[in-house]
């Protein structure tokens, strides 16, 4: 699963995207564990130490326009991207 990274996630990972080896579809919790395994540096600034949630205001958007709800599952076709939303300026 190709995952686009923006903001702090990209700054920490040093790359614009990562490829996760996952059996799709996945839940957000499964996704976060795999992402933390692939880029350990994302814990604890982007992914919480328990590796089951994002650290606010980082989040996952699908197709650039919707956040997965609850235990909704998703896959590579949903174009997941990790963003840092806090804005201003």
């Amino acid at each position: 699963m190709k995952v686009e990274l923006f903001g702090m996630a990209r700054a920490i990972a040093g790359v614009s995207h990562v490829d996760l080896a996952l059996d799709e579809p996945v839940t957000l919790a499964e996704f976060l564990r795999a992402l933390a395994d692939a880029v350990p540096g994302l814990v604890p600034d982007v992914i919480a130490p328990a590796r089951d949630a994002f650290v606010e205001p980082n989040l996952l958007l699908l197709d650039g326009r919707r956040a997965p709800a609850g235990d909704e599952t998703f896959g590579a076709a949903d174009n997941p991207c990790v963003l840092f939303l806090a804005s201003g300026g």
Partner: protein
Amino acid sequence: MTNGTIADVPRYAGPRDLLEIDLSARTSRRTPLADGVFADALGGVGLAVRLIDERVRGPIDALGAANPIVISAGPFASTPVPAANKHALATISPLTGLLNEGLSSSHFSAVLRRCGLAAIVVTGIADAWTTLVVDGERIAFDDASDLAGLSARETTKAIRDRYGDRSVRVCAIGAAGERGVRFASVENDGRQAGRGGTGAVFGAKRLKAIALRGRGEVGIADARATAEIAATLRTRALGPTTAKYRVLGTGANLRVLQRMGQLPTRNFGAAQFDGAERVTPERARESGGAYTELRAGCAGCPVQCEHMYVRKGRDRREAAASEYESVWAFGPNCGVDDLDAVLDAIGRCDELGLDTISTGGAIAFAMECAERGLVPRDAFAADLRFGNGAVLLPAIDAIAARRGLGDALADGVRAAARRIGGGADAFAMHCKGLELPGYEPRALPTYALGLATCTRGACHNRAATYDKDLRDPSSDPSDAARARDAIEAEDRAVAWDSLVLCKFVRDCFDDFESEAAALWSAVSGMPIDAGALRVAAHRTWERKRAINARLGWTPADDTLPPRLFDEAIASGPNAGRRIDRDRLDALRTAYEAQRAARYAGVIGSSTAIASVLPP
């Protein structure tokens, strides 16, 4: 003009003097504000709006002698509270004709309180260019004829040289404010109160600068409790919630909004920009040494959010701030993908004292006018068309000098569209005369409502509901829910701006209202709870609207530019989206109903302090 002491109101611990200046008569009057004033309005924007409310009781010429400029200290400035050395500036905007309240920050804010002042009110018009000097208790009206034409930075240096004291803190205007550009800014310590043209009001009063020198103690009611809360905030402000600002800066929004299809492009003609990647500040950082990155920030702030860039080999003093809104205004909004041209434009605006958002908006509007044949493409020294970075500097210079087409643009896009004619108002991107910031309202419906209702015009910092929309762009809550979100965002912004805390530390609070109320209580000695803070914020919002109503505002003014209704986003993740007029009307109706009902019967009843306040 202020209320007398109210029985049972605890004593306000901080600096409390109001300094009233009449530039026409060259007189000053210094009086202590009553405790009840602080209990009622807190400080910052709340206090500034109250002082404007007392003085502007009907229509007023924004560039006339009677229009007051209020500078009001943040109540946590010059205390250990981080991200709080800030002050508010309020006046009637020459751009919108309505209330304008902005913020600036850093040393000037702190020294204002060390002069023993809660606020300064300036009225009148000086005979010649003047620097108002506040040296502790001493007031002077210094001749500033030799400072005319200088930038704020140069003005600051000249005043410090004159006094032989680098601790003098100065706010000043540049050439644009002197010439009455209606979106001229006021700068202090390298920070700008940019929006709404307060700099033009300074210029109309022939007030070139205000210089402060003060070393007084700033009282804190409970120093120990304040220090504890401040230490917690400081630790959090160095954590992950502010990482983006510390590591990347706000310019990091550009890549994100481009990916989400919410990056206004070519005067809101599109929502994605092919050249976005080439103007991201990250590109400068990753350029392999082509740029030098400098960090800066406000006094006493651990975040140090400002990321500035200068091309290798150039003087570091030419470094330009890469704030998202500024980069967006001259980059995507003008269709320019040349980072050097964008940074040069930002730097020139700071030098001349211009708001970057409105300046970029005016140039983007002019580019569209030129492409539609409404103005000549050779109006400036280079071809006036989207994508031509070479036209930015000549256009900025012409606006600041009020030369040629620049003279029309210097009045803002609303007035310029009327002057140019030919249907140009259809793509003049403003609300109530204030040019739009860099978020795509067609893809952010709650934010769109907030833009329409905002008392200041199109300001993203008074109706910052984009965070809510961005968290789940596809959700479609009810009109009532969107109205509630917009109202809560507006009132929360008033609370932030009255306390005055930087919004970049907004995620450093677990429960903002409760924690901020505790902080206010510790610093001021006037205990309030979260409910009282919300009520105080709402009271200030009501004052803002009442002032605007006296100036001629009507509910019909709470709308959006025609393009957002008439043209759908053409491509990208939000293709096909536009603002539906009937839906916006329904949202406004829900908004007004909730505004009317929300605090009915509870104003002034939330706490013991509030219960003794005047209505």
